[in-house]
Amino acid sequence: MNLELRKIEIKDVVFGEETGVKDGVLTVCKQDIIDGLKEDVNVKSIKVDIAKPGEKTRIIPVKDVIQPRIKVEGKGNGFPGVTSEMVQLGSGKVNVLDGVAVVTIGDIVGFQEGVIDMWGEGAKWTPFSKTLNIVVDIEPVEGLDPHTHEATVRVAGLRAAELIGKAGKDAQASAVEKYEMGDIFTEASKYPDLPKVAYVEMLISQGLLHDGYIYGVNSGKILPTLIHPNEELDGAVISGNCVAACDKITTYQHQNNSAILDLYNRHGKDINFVGVILTPELTTLEGKFRTCDYTAKLCQTLGVDGVIVSEEGYGNPDSDLLMICKRLEDSGIKTVLITDECSGWDGMSQPLADTTPEAVAVVSTGNVSHVVELEPADRVIGSAEAIATLAGGWEGCLQEDGSMVCELNAVIGATSEIGYHNLTVELY
């Protein structure tokens, strides 16, 4: 497969008459977006705002983040299987509005968290304080059942990214990234002496608000499956995860999966990057045993020497992570795990829910209970109730001057377990 991501550098975003890109400035026609999204009868109203890095703006509660793009050569614009017709992804040329993110807000349930602060202390902890954010607030019609509500908001966000992405159709790319990888045997014959490495990507797959989708198929319904890295980079995997702000893999992070990108970077140099295995994190123990056995078996079948395993979420998925690790290590395959931890406010608690001695190589992406202080914002895009939820965690959370103390687990992308962000944990 051969995929070209053509990065169009966007330096500013403004509202205007017509959606388009000129001289690095993205103009968005608000009404076009609203009209486009309201084609779905389940959408009642849409609000669109812009939040730029450095502004004292807070966005909350964030549901998903999506990168706006358009496929200029090849099949599969939008999100095949979800917003557009089913097509094989992974090849062609894609124009990417680089530096722009579509951020959807609007909660399905009151306890959803997910804050992005565009300035100050809070900005350091999320990668999305550095993107020009087009915030889309989606309000569905009344009376929808929760599943339809979630699907409506999810699809509207993806469609918004599609509509905005069209602006990049004829724009000039300032950088072109090429992702080319043939079949396993061809690559192995090209690099016979390089160690074979696979990437196991665990996806939260436990039900409403805890879902992932591959070509539109709910990940709770699949066995672990092999997928070409280009497919994920081209939009095959999207997020249905509406909780776990700090470590949910947003659609943007699937489109720009850092583990895939970093492995691809070394492909043909230090390693032979063989492929990606998507593994669902199921709820039942039997399901977990089946999934972990199957994942390890796929790795063994591919004949890999090493595997990077990333997790999504915290709590019961820790069991899957360690079971997969143990099975791989026992079969002679070397692993590195990427996970976040919960070591309490003072960092003194035992970090993981489960332990296994085989997990000798672990990257920690941060303590989800690490406490940060957020200054009061000048502008809040989103809901005041969500702030109350964020601030209602414990006594003394919200201070008189409006500043808040909150745990990292409420900050979007803070402890990304695909290693997207740059937090780590040190022992003192």
Partner: protein
């Protein structure tokens, strides 16, 4: 169709349409402790006792699927429930239970429970009936 599980729960929204229900009078931790007792009596643990996100640990409600009683306590179930209780206590040490959003948690817990029941039914040899 025979049912081989019990729903151990304190969620008022969980009713007979999900199957046989063992109601626990108390909070999240009380549900976990009840599950622990059942596991030590030899029962099979079907669904993992805790959720997949920190947020769900702040829920006032929790439902867990427990299976039929065997002849001995299985190590993996004992380790899983004990680890879950430990994680719950550590993760919620400084937090208040989120009662403000209790109804929403009840609804999501019910949805996740249905998901677990459907997952469990996939491996049953009986006729599969999706829980609506």
């Amino acid at each position: 169709m025979g049912q081989d599980f019990v729903v151990v729960t304190n969620n008022p929204m969980v009713g007979e349409s999900q199957g046989e229900v063992m109601v626990v009078d108390g909070g999240f931790e009380d549900v976990l402790l009840k599950v622990r007792d059942l596991v030590y009596e030899g029962h099979q643990l079907i669904s993992h006792p805790i959720g997949a996100s920190m947020r769900m640990l702040f829920s006032p409600y929790r439902s867990v699927l427990v299976g039929s009683k065997g002849s001995e306590t299985m190590e993996v179930y004992a380790l899983t429930i004990e680890g879950s209780i430990d994680t719950f206590r550590r993760s919620t040490a400084n937090r208040d239970v989120d009662h403000v959003n209790a109804d929403d948690y009840a609804r999501i817990d019910l949805e996740l429970l249905k998901g677990a029941i459907n997952e469990h039914r996939v491996i049953q040899r009986e006729k599969i009936q999706e829980v609506q």
